[in-house]
């Protein structure tokens, strides 16, 4: 079967390398160091008091449904910038199978133009 050494080999890409085992060893050691440092800190807190409630600048907490920020509201600043292209692409996905086949015909035509026509011209 596989020799033991091959387990330790570094992945060479010709431009760089990556050895997960070294990283994992480093992570484990760093984790131990950090856990020791963290161990100096205070561990407990008063459970069930008002300090465990969500901080809302003193406002009362809404019901849980409204406290959860829904998926489509995430990444506002980002989608703000990309909205134009997302809307464009959404329009492309009509969900109509005729359009899918039309895309196929278009791509065939493009490939046809790019592969066959230039050779014919030469």
């Amino acid at each position: 079967m596989l020799p033991f050494e091959s387990l330790l080999k570094t992945l060479q890409t010709g431009s760089g390398f990556w050895n997960p085992l070294v990283w994992i060893v480093a992570i484990i050691v760093a984790l131990l160091v950090v856990l020791i440092i963290r161990g100096f800190g205070k561990k407990d807190y008063k459970k069930g008091t008002s300090q465990t409630q969500a901080f809302l600048s003193g406002n009362p907490e809404y019901d849980k449904e409204r406290m959860h920020i829904k998926g489509s509201n995430v990444y506002w600043g980002f989608s703000e910038i990309l909205n134009w292209i997302i809307n464009l692409l959404k329009k492309m996905h009509t969900g109509n199978v005729s359009d899918y086949v039309l895309w196929f015909v278009i791509i065939i035509a493009i490939l046809f133009l790019s592969i066959i026509i230039p050779a014919g011209a030469i």
Binding site: L2, S6, L7, K9, T10, L11, Q12, T13, G14, S15, G16, W18, P20, L21, W23, I24, A54, D63, K64, E65, M67, H68, I69, K70, G71, S72, V74, Y75, F78, S79, L82, I85, I86, L89, K90, M92, H93, G95, V97, D99, Y100, V101, W103, F104, I106, I107, I108, L111, F112, S114, I115, I116, P118, A119, G120, I122
Partner: protein, 520 residues
């Protein structure tokens, strides 16, 4: 000859025949007992997996294997159906069987409440048969037949939840797209047959002249297989089909998509392998371009999705782009022989085929688990599930790290290979690839937040962790992801590199058949 040798010698046909026979035996067992049927289906698939592994081991150690159907007299190679199995076929077959086994295990609990499960298991095994056939065959027409077997069974499975309009509609779209694609594949096969009087891939590749008709065949085959493989802008059926099918089916559907991708690879590297440089427009650059567009579109569309399964489906489109990018870069540098960077890119692309199957597969299984537990896939209605579904959350986090290619998961290894080779072709390619991978991270972190984190929603107080068989299925994939991530070099040296070399070495593929048929 003892039984084991017999199995190894005949493994190419057994890999296809056993699931095929098993598929039609399953309903008989189903008449006796549901549990027995499930066990039987899993048993059949495990045997197939064993055969595929034995075959792969044999191919990697002893070189290309052929299997001849019918009489051994090869004076008429035209009418013989030949299976030709090289390392690349094995690589794809391994992916297919792993995903099929996992899907069957997952189905045990996931599909339990459905009726018509006899047909479900039959179709699932039939689909696996089709995929394995596509990957192992060396005959163009045979490829078409298996393509159609896969298409029909998977379309039926996509529409399996027939009480939902959307599922039926997605199944219909899928079968229309598949049929049209397959018909053009058949048309191209006819073009080959008309010119070279052969259906065998190796014989066609040997005598191909890149005439006008060959170019038409190339165009049609690239178009049709690209559509089946979900390359932008022909990907549009994919989110529909992936998101509307039951999760266990989606998992196998990922493998079916990749089987079409395998067809594209065979086409570019083997059949047109000698001629690919003659094309006025580099096919390699064309694929690179497709790859970049696919990555960007898949990822950007995924940002905008609010339905979990549709989101993962678009992420899958993006991941397909990475494979195409790596493979295209390999193809660009093919003339006259592949460069070191090109080979690295090709290895990265091929490795990413497997990683994508595992990562996206795990994501779909998690989505299925969420659906099983909450009957909900919209991200706007989920939340706080990490309290009730600890293991699923953990598997999701593993999948998240893997899909976005963070160390030390398998996705990082393959993406590293792609980045560190494509930049030599053009730095922009690697930049876009890196950017898209970070966008993928953002997308899945959004899923993590909106499905698993956040306050405990009262609606989901009663939600329980999914049954053990589903957890086990997810654990298998997560385990493979971690092993591949921690020991990437072993996987690349022993599985990926032989596959890449087999793909590049089309002379070896051709001469193997020619030596059998006496140079016909």
């Amino acid at each position: 000859m003892n039984a084991l040798e017999f199995f190894v010698v005949n493994s190419p046909i057994f890999a296809v025949a056993i699931p095929l026979l098993g598929a039609f035996l399953t309903p008989i067992f189903g008449m006796i007992n549901d549990k027995l049927r499930n066990v039987f289906a899993i048993f059949i698939m495990i045997i197939t997996t064993g055969i595929v592994f034995a075959l792969s081991y044999d191919v990697v150690t002893n070189g290309i294997r052929t299997y001849i159907f019918g009489a051994q007299d090869l004076s008429l190679p035209v009418v013989r159906i030949l299976f030709e199995v090289d390392a690349m076929s094995c690589f794809m077959a391994i992916i297919s069987v792993i995903l099929a086994v996992v899907a069957l295990i997952y189905s045990w609990a996931f599909m339990k409440e459905n009726t018509g499960l006899d047909k479900y298991y039959t179709l699932l095994l039939l689909m696996t048969t089709g995929m394995l056939g596509m990957e192992l065959t060396g005959d163009m027409f045979n490829f078409f037949v298996f393509l159609e077997i896969t298409s029909i069974s998977s379309a039926a499975l996509v529409a399996f939840w027939i009480n939902r309009g959307k599922s039926v509609e997605a199944g219909f779209k899928y079968i229309v797209i598949s049929t049209i694609g397959a018909l053009f594949v058949l048309f191209s096969i006819a073009l080959f047959y008309g010119q070279y009087n052969a259906l065998n891939m190796a014989i066609i590749a040997n005598s191909i002249q890149f005439t006008f008709l060959d170019k038409i065949a190339l165009v049609l085959l690239i178009g049709a297989l690209a559509m089946k493989a979900g390359i932008v802008p022909l990907h549009m059926w994919l989110p529909d089909a992936y998101s509307k099918a039951p999760s266990s089916v989606t998992l196998v559907l990922v493998a079916a998509t990749q089987a079409s991708l395998y067809g594209l690879l065979r086409l570019c590297f083997t059949i047109y392998g000698n001629m690919i440089t003659l094309s006025p427009v580099s096919i390699g650059w064309l694929l690179v371009l497709f790859g970049i567009v696919t990555i960007l579109l898949g990822v950007i569309m995924a940002i905008a999705q609010t339905d979990l399964k549709r989101l993962i489906a678009f992420a899958a489109v993006g991941e397909i782009g990475y494979m195409i990018l790596g493979i295209g870069t390999g193809l660009v540098t093919m003339s006259p022989s592949i460069s070191a960077a090109g080979l690295t890119a090709l290895k990265g692309g091929i490795f990413h085929i497997m990683n994508d199957a595992l990562d996206i597969g795990l994501m779909f299984l998690v989505a299925g688990a969420i659906f099983y537990a909450t009957r909900e896939t919209s991200l706007d209605r989920l939340g706080g599930l990490a309290r009730n579904m600890k293991y699923t959350t953990a598997f999701f986090i593993i999948g998240l790290l893997a899909v976005s290619g963070l160390p030390p998961m398998n996705g990082f290894a393959s993406k590293l290979l792609i980045y560190e080779s494509t930049y030599q072709l053009n730095p922009i390619l690697a930049i876009i690839a890196i950017l898209a991978s970070i966008l993928l991270l953002a997308i899945f972190v959004k899923v993590l937040h909106s499905a698993f984190l956040g306050p405990a929603l009262p609606r989901f107080n009663e939600v329980k962790e999914v049954p053990k068989s589903m957890l086990f299925a997810m654990a298998i994939i997560a385990g493979i992801i971690i092993v591949f991530g921690v020991f990437p070099d072993i996987i690349i040296t022993n599985i990926v590199e032989p596959a890449a070399n087999a793909l590049v070495n089309n002379a070896g593929y051709i001469s193997k058949i020619l030596s059998l048929t006496g140079g016909a």
